[in-house]
Symmetry: C2
Subunit: 258 residues, 2 copies
């Protein structure tokens, strides 16, 4: 079995209102690649955020009392904390240097994905796309319109994690692919049925694979095309990847952060 | 940039004492692929465990009092819990259905990686390789001997995780590659230095990418060759991926499991 990962060079720095699908098709054409059905296009959430204009000017933000308290506890800019709280439904952990929250869209991550880097201006921050599953679906539709290819789309980000260092890939949005493959009931090598633990978070794994090419610094490879996997059947959105708090050993807040 | 992932078909079910390097070279030859320097060979920990004969017969195990108590709490076989405790230094969480421990080699995972599936016999379990970084180095040396290619090696496993469903890839061992890439100090797109959070756990990402090809059921693709990445510089073992407990928001035991 062979799988190819293609990160086209020469994509521009994205700006509000850009036709991302068109830019992707053009950049791939520069590499003599045409999208084909079953290809999976992994695009960073940050790229979509820029295109969707998800920018907040910190100078316009007045922190609440709660934001001021959490900012002191976490040693962060109170205006930034205010923006994070507005994007979140719950604070999971707050420690010096760490503010872990549940995003309005359900997933748990540091700072609700609010990002200061790669924006070029000190006082402006970038929020995540407002609905990454919808963004993925829209990009998928537009790519079909332009190329005729029935592709999958993953909107990727990277999250820190307990127990191990570094950020790994997560899919915040997905369309046209099976985000979670459940192997339960399928046989192992010896015909013994696999148990409930055999759940493959394919969309997250695609996001992790893409990081190997994209880097996180000035390398500028926000799009990776994955070719050779068959994940089109039983398509589900990335929302399915979020573990319900009820079954999670770690997702409960350890105190009242009100 | 292009990266290729190649999972050779036709590898046998591994047994104790097999010359894994030789089997890999032969299987790749069947696909008309010759290893080249800078290729990265990702092999599952389970394959190495079988070759290293890391099998325990549960019939030979007498559970301690501690194992009996934890088995009741977690609703697991006391003999299996005894084996897990012998592989571990600390219990992090114990709940019905879940036993999370710190393995003797440092990482935190469910059941210390002790596995009942894919072994073909109900009463026998498979431990992880005793020193996966050393196993990786030995495989790398033998592959060089056979092929003349200076490759990287990752010994992969999959771990469940808080917050999100499914198991993602982890590198338990590595040789000849930079397991953790630290981007700190490098410029972002606008020349602003990236902060300490920009740590790329390349070896774990490789393990995750390999899962996309390997599956976890009866597909039998325990080896994936990754071609096109440049990770040979500043090689470090996989042990570097483990987050020190001191800086971890979640790694402390929530009670005394003595």
């Amino acid at each position: 079995m062979r799988v190819e990962l293609i990160a086209p060079e020469g994509l521009p720095v994205f700006g509000r209102g850009d036709d991302l699908a068109s830019l992707i098709v053009d950049a791939l054409a520069g590499e003599r690649v045409a999208l084909a059905s079953a290809d999976i296009v992994v695009v960073t959430a940050k790229a979509l955020s820029k295109i969707e204009g998800r920018v907040v000017d910190l100078a316009s933000v007045t922190p609440s009392g709660r934001a001021l308290r959490l900012a002191e506890l976490t040693e962060k800019d109170p205006r930034l904390v205010e923006v994070v709280l507005a994007e979140s439904t719950e604070v999971i952990r707050a420690r010096p240097g760490n503010l872990l929250v549940r995003h309005r869209n359900g997933w748990i991550s540091g700072m609700a994905g609010v990002d200061r880097s790669n924006l070029g201006e000190e006082e402006r921050v970038l929020l995540l796309p407002s609905n990454p599953d919808a963004s993925a679906e829209a990009l998928r539709a537009r790519l079909f319109e332009l190329s005729g290819a029935d592709v999958g789309v993953v909107v990727s980000d990277s999250h820190g994690r307990p127990f191990r260092i570094g950020n790994t890939g997560v899919a915040l949005g997905a369309a046209g692919i099976c985000s979670v493959r459940r192997l339960e009931g399928q046989p192992d090598l010896f015909g013994r049925p696999l148990t409930g633990a055999s759940v493959v978070p394919s969309a997250d794994l695609l996001a992790s694979a893409a990081i190997l090419l994209a880097g996180e610094s000035d390398e500028g490879r926000p799009v990776v095309v994955v070719r050779g996997l068959d994940l089109a059947k039983d398509a589900t959105p990335a929302a399915e990847l979020v573990r319900p708090a009820k079954g999670d050993l770690f997702a409960l807040a350890d105190r009242d952060y009100g």
